[in-house]
């Protein structure tokens, strides 16, 4: 369904993303995890063909969607795919809807544009979709403005907009980060159900390992603009090979006992301007040796997945 190969993105002279590859089949959910600034959102924007909005461009690699090469697709054709076959769900529902327009027309627009149906039919469809997303009184909601809705409701409406034209692939860029914990669980469950009911493919970008464990089939772990480990979720969680993946999994809180402390990873993600030489993770890595500061490891197959580390292996 979707195959990304050696994707590289540049903003002017700066290359915040290099060598990202993954593949996704129909009905599968792929998780992309990593800390802020690791290039997750850029990957999403690349797939949606929206990099030019922020001044970026794809400098190498390919994105193949349903047999079609997207990186060389003319804008007009890409526009038909966007909203039509590719749906995007953004991070912050508070700012993702036009505050000056009613909910109804904002969702209608997608079906009108891509399915060629008219006002009445589009509205009926909107009401139906809002209903399936468990929004109460969908017909009334259509006449409301975004600021009259709660965050969780707004995110459902954003999802409705992404689903309105029956897409094949959904890209959800941290869809729950800006929401309350209880609402987070609802939205994740909703997305999970949608994937199963509609045989959708979902690229779920998150920094929450526990969300990945619950919903994804495959996972790509990103760090400093690279995919450093990837593979089936069970394998990655059972035997993570990269020290960063191990640290991420170690950060998931396990219980509520008094003497258990929240675990973090010491240090911070390097910014694009100062990616370290060699392996980008070496300044924070417990296994780092001389070679890690000099040469960057490449992503090599290992077990069911692939890992990019000079000293891969299960945690000691």
């Amino acid at each position: 369904m979707l195959e990304v190969r050696d994707l590289e993105v540049a903003f002017g002279q700066i290359a915040p993303l290099c060598g990202v590859s993954f593949a996704l089949e129909k009905g599968e959910t792929l998780g992309i995890v990593g800390e802020s600034g690791s290039g997750k959102s850029l990957t999403a924007m690349s797939v949606m063909g929206l990099l030019p909005l922020s001044g970026g461009r794809i400098t190498a690699g390919s994105i193949i969607f349903d047999g079609q090469e997207l990186t060389k697709l003319p804008e007009a054709a890409y526009r038909k795919l966007r909203g039509g076959r590719l749906g995007l769900i953004t991070q912050n529902p508070m700012t993702s809807l036009d505050p000056l327009q009613k909910i109804g027309p904002q969702v209608d627009a997608v079906a009108r544009l891509h399915l060629g149906i008219t006002g009445q039919q589009a509205r009926a469809r909107t009401i139906e979709i809002l209903g399936t997303l468990r929004i109460p009184e969908p017909a009334l909601i259509c006449d409301r403005y975004p600021h009259q809705m709660s965050g969780g409701m707004k995110q459902r409406i954003v999802i409705a907009g992404a689903l309105a034209a029956n897409p094949d692939l959904l890209v959800a860029d941290e869809p729950t980060t800006a929401l309350d914990v209880t609402v987070q669980a609802q939205i994740i469950r909703l997305l999970d159900d949608l994937v199963k009911e509609r045989a959708l493919s979902l690229v779920l970008i998150t920094h929450d390992m526990s969300v990945v464990a619950q919903t994804c089939d495959k996972v790509v772990v990103m760090y400093a603009g690279r995919a450093i480990e990837q593979g089936p979720v069970e394998a990655i969680f059972a035997e993570p090979q990269h020290p960063y993946t191990q640290a991420l999994i170690g950060c998931i809180p396990k219980g509520l006992s008094e003497d258990e402390h929240l675990v973090g990873i010491p240090g911070t993600v390097p910014t694009v301007m100062n990616y370290p030489k060699g392996c980008p993770f070496h300044p924070r890595c417990i296994r780092a040796e001389d070679i890690c500061t000099k040469t960057s490891p490449s992503l090599l197959p290992r077990g069911d997945g692939a890992v990019s580390c000079h000293f891969p292996g299960a945690a000691p």
Binding site: R79, R82, L86, L88, T90, Q91, S96, P99, V110, A162
Partner: protein, 298 residues
Amino acid sequence: MLIPVSISISVVIFLIVQLLPGDPIDNLIRVGSSTEDRKTLVLKYGLDQPLAVQYFRWIGAIFQGDFGEAIVLRRPVADLIAQNLPYSLRLGGAAFAFSSIAGITLGTISATTRSAIVENIMRGFILLGSTVPGFWLALLMILFFAVQLQWFPVSGAKGWSSLVLPVLTIGFGGVALVARVTRVALLDVRREDFVTLLHAKGLPSRTILFRHLMPHAMLPVVTILALRIGWILGGAVTVEFVFGRPGLGSLLIRAIGQRDYPLVQGCLLMLALAVMLGTLIGDVTQAAMDPRIRETKK
């Protein structure tokens, strides 16, 4: 809100005029008149009364629709204003329309163009328009379009052709201001998440610009334009003067020169009303455009 503001403005207008040195009688009496003559005049216009009494007399009369009589010009203030207001309205209205239409168009072009040359020309124009003083531009306009090319009359207020140069002069600054605000607002809105999402829905850029970006960008523009309604009526003084046009501005300047208290007060009150009316129109328009504002006003 409008009522307390109106009251305080009337007090300020009244007092500020009294602060001016000299009085209207100086302009009225002939050289060689006796102090008795002077006294009778002072008594006639009630200038010997305490300020508070004078104020309440004035404001009381205004509530009955009587703006008093201009002391030096010896005509009812209301008549003088009624005579001059149409000229100001015509000039102000035309300049307002010109600066809105041209400003919004130029601002939109400069925010959406991908050509660096167009963008730089726009920026240069906006900078010039915001800084060049009106009276100097007016003189240049007269020199070039009226004296050299003889396309338009040098001065006066006869017919529509005499309106062109003053409107261009006043409008120039307005165009630059509106263009700048439009440009900045458009660039700001374009960075919002919902715009990314609109692109992700596959909407064409043109639809996004006109149906979603423009309504947002117009919110600050409406504020600016509303403030300019009052400014354009009274702020055109120098331009009216250079082009020798009648109008509220010229009337006010003459009244101040002659210390004609009732006339100055009447003119200032009109201008203050225009500013308040402009603000009100701006608020109402914004509420019509933005559901969030409607909600908070309820």
